[in-house]
């Protein structure tokens, strides 16, 4: 909306006496919006409506894998009661991964923005490079690296640093995998915010007798908050719905909600409605959490 108002200018909201010229301009604005609106309609609204419709369907008796239209709210009841632990686990793991990613990403982004000098581009390439290989392949590679007879586990075992004797197929591996996979989404927005920060403002902190830590706390960190906010959202949202890390790195027990959705869609004849209800619930839950989060920590601009 704001985009429309900006492009169209005041006459768009004041239709009493539009000058012919501005009328034409406002048409241009709608025309410019058209591809975006169409795109949203076809690739977002339509699938969403389809998903909502599926989530209320019932199984066709006697024909596994077939459904009929219904208003079966039992699917939602089942999604919320049977799979509450899976939701909790998803949010916990995604939250942990977001926190870890923040801890790793902030110093990295800080170094890239202020200390890297001529190494900055190289560091940037290193952060982005993993995107050149498929997400699944990279996760699969981790499952090989962390395998029981791989060198990582063996050396840790020799040093008696691994009480369980395995890394792979544990929740630790899942959180590590999520952190690894979504790290660039945390680094890039924080870097973008820091890089835009005016160094003179930070210097001013020193001029006003603040020590390094106080300057960071009261000046640098607040200035990077839009980036932190964007980064946490970009990490948390996909991590909460992820199933690949759990599938490839996780244990057999204690699955995440993404795995349940995947299994309901793919392994259970007649699981579509529950899977759709779960997807919807997950979406609503994430939306609510993000809304509260942005209300609490939000700033005027998201990068």
């Amino acid at each position: 909306m704001s985009a429309l108002a900006q492009v169209a200018g005041d006459p768009a909201v004041d239709p009493v006496a539009p000058a012919p010229e501005t009328q034409k301009r406002s048409w241009t604005a709608y025309l410019l919006l058209l591809p975006g609106v169409l795109w949203l309609g076809v690739f977002f609204i339509l699938p969403l409506v389809q998903l909502a419709s599926v989530s209320l369907q019932s199984r066709y008796p006697g024909f596994p894998g077939y459904y009929y239209r219904d208003l079966n709210f039992q699917n939602y009841v089942s999604a919320l009661t049977d799979y509450a632990p899976h939701f909790a686990r998803s949010f916990l793991y995604a939250g942990l991964a977001t926190l870890l990613a923040f801890v790793v990403a902030y110093p990295l982004a800080y170094a890239m923005a202020f200390k890297a000098g001529r190494w900055r581009n190289l560091m940037m390439i290193c952060v982005v490079a993993p995107f050149f290989t498929s997400f699944i392949l990279r996760t699969f590679a981790w499952s090989q690296i962390l395998a029981d007879e791989g060198w990582v586990v063996r050396s840790l075992d020799v040093l008696h640093l691994l009480p369980g004797g395995q890394i792979i197929n544990t929740p630790v591996a899942v959180v590590a995998g999520l952190t690894y996979n979504f790290l660039p989404f945390m680094v890039l927005p924080i870097y973008a915010s820091l890089e835009r920060a005016d160094p003179r403002v930070i210097e001013a902190g020193g001029d006003l007798y603040a020590n390094g830590f106080t300057t960071f706390r009261t000046v640098t960190l607040p200035m990077s908050m839009p980036g932190v906010l964007a980064g946490t959202l970009l990490t948390f949202i996909p991590a909460a719905g992820d199933f690949v890390n759990m599938e490839l790195l996780g244990p057999q027990r204690g699955k995440m909600v993404g795995n349940v959705i995947n299994d309901q869609f793919l392994a259970i004849p007649g699981g579509y409605p529950v899977a759709a209800a779960l997807s919807f619930t997950l979406m609503a839950a994430i939306l609510a959490m993000v809304f509260l989060y942005v209300r609490r920590f939000g700033t005027e601009e998201l990068v």
């Binding site: 077939y66 009929y68 029981d148």
Partner: protein, 415 residues
């Protein structure tokens, strides 16, 4: 309000029609969703109807076969299921077929598990879309479902003389495909215990031998419940080929669940369990027969052993089918016929080590490897099957199929 399943291509039964009316046209729903776009989308996304019961060939809408002008064929199969050269890049028998016929075959190991493959392709096939495959390979019970759902094409046996004369007698008429009108057996195999004798350090003879403290967390089992639960039920004294019910099945699942929770079973997987055996995450498990021989060959480690547990094992077959939307049925039939040439079948069997469904292949195998010609894993005798208590999992009706899959998903898969 439960609709009665349709038996013919007549309009919907009354309750179903009422539901459809209520869901699609109703003003209340339109008002509820607010926008016309939403209502339009809703009417566009009606779930597909189940196929009419015994419609027969006439009701099938087959696409035009362009095999003559397009000499290509795309085949979806399971891992370690076709003879390969040393580098695992090419298959000698497939290369020979391509040279002989001029048909370019692209072979892909797409199938990791029956359910997930079916769930992936079925919606596309029902919508009449191409899945970019001309042959897929699925297990008996899933073959039954594909045929019932009319998602595969009828085959012209008259075009496949090798199949007609060489398909083993017991496989010529099977319950899920009477008269083999829609599917042809690719290979059969056993589910039993696969393990590395050196790493385990002893022989594993019964299923209970798997639940040992030194093997804790180093065991994988198959996500195919007919095999894993089947083996466990056999060890609990159930005849899995006769009339057992939900209670026996649930008891087996409780047992498996307990073994997962106690940490004995590490993962429940599709055909990708072979990766865990290769990487050393697991040293034993419930596996398929041929895979273990291939693993032994690939890793050069003769310690990999397959055995049928004392309480018995399962026997199943995988079947070749032509997806309903494929336009290369003749090419597919040529390939099926080619693999029923005993000499070719023996070549495949010598590599995959699964039960060969081709009459005369045993004699051909004598020429390749006399030892393999005696192998009960490739050419089992009736005595071997009955003495080892090898059974096929009984066929489930549609309701049981859903019920059992639900139970399996919750109790064992951890969902």
């Amino acid at each position: 309000m439960t609709p009665i399943p349709r038996r013919s291509r007549r309009p919907l039964s009354e309750p179903a029609a009422a539901i459809t009316r209520a869901a699609s046209g109703g003003m209340s729903r339109r008002a509820l969703l607010g926008t016309g776009l939403a209502a339009g989308a809703l009417s566009a996304c009606a779930p597909p109807k189940p196929p009419a019961g015994s419609g027969g060939l006439s009701s099938l809408d087959l696409p035009e076969d362009v095999s003559d002008s397009e000499k290509i064929l795309k085949w979806a199969n399971w891992t370690a299921y076709l003879d390969m050269n040393g580098k695992e890049t090419k298959s000698p028998t497939l290369d020979a077929f391509m040279q002989q016929t001029g048909i370019e075959v692209s072979y892909s190991e797409d199938v990791d598990d029956n359910d997930s493959y079916y769930a992936k392709v079925a919606p596309q096939l029902r919508a009449g879309q191409s899945i970019d495959r001309d042959i897929f390979t699925l297990t008996d019970w899933m073959t039954g479902r594909v045929i019932r759902d009319q998602l595969c094409q009828p085959l012209e046996l008259i075009q496949m003389p090798n199949v007609v004369s060489n398909l083993l007698q017991p496989l010529k008429d099977v319950s899920f495909d009477p008269g083999r009108q829609h599917s042809i057996t690719w290979q059969s195999g056993f589910a039993g215990i696969g393990y590395n004798r050196d790493k385990v350090g002893r022989e594993l003879k019964s299923l209970d031998d798997l639940w040992a403290d030194d093997l804790k967390g180093r065991i994988v089992v198959l996500s195919e419940f007919r095999d894993t639960a089947g083996l466990v039920m056999q060890s609990q004294g159930v005849d899995i080929d006769s009339d057992f019910g939900r209670a026996e099945f649930e008891a087996a699942l409780d047992f498996i669940e307990q073994k997962i929770e106690e940490g004995y079973i590490r993962k429940v997987k599709g055909n990708s369990y072979m990766e865990d055996l290769t990487s050393g995450n697991a040293v034993a498990g419930i596996t398929w027969s041929g895979d273990i021989f291939v693993l032994s060959f690939d890793t050069g480690d003769p310690a990999w052993t397959f055995t049928i547990p004392e309480s018995g094992g399962t026997l199943w077959s995988d079947n070749l089918m032509v997806p309903i939307t494929s336009t290369h049925r003749s090419n597919a039939q040529k390939l099926m016929d080619y693999y029923y040439d005993p000499a070719v079948a023996a070549q495949v069997a010598a590599w995959v080590n699964y039960v060969c469904p081709v009459e005369g292949a045993q004699a051909e195998m004598e020429k390749i490897d006399p030892e393999l010609a005696e192998s009960p894993w490739i050419f089992p005798t009736a005595d071997f099957i009955s003495e080892s208590n090898i059974q096929g999992f009984r066929s489930l009706d549609a309701d049981e199929e859903i019920e059992f899959a639900d139970l399996w998903s919750t109790k064992v898969m951890g969902n």
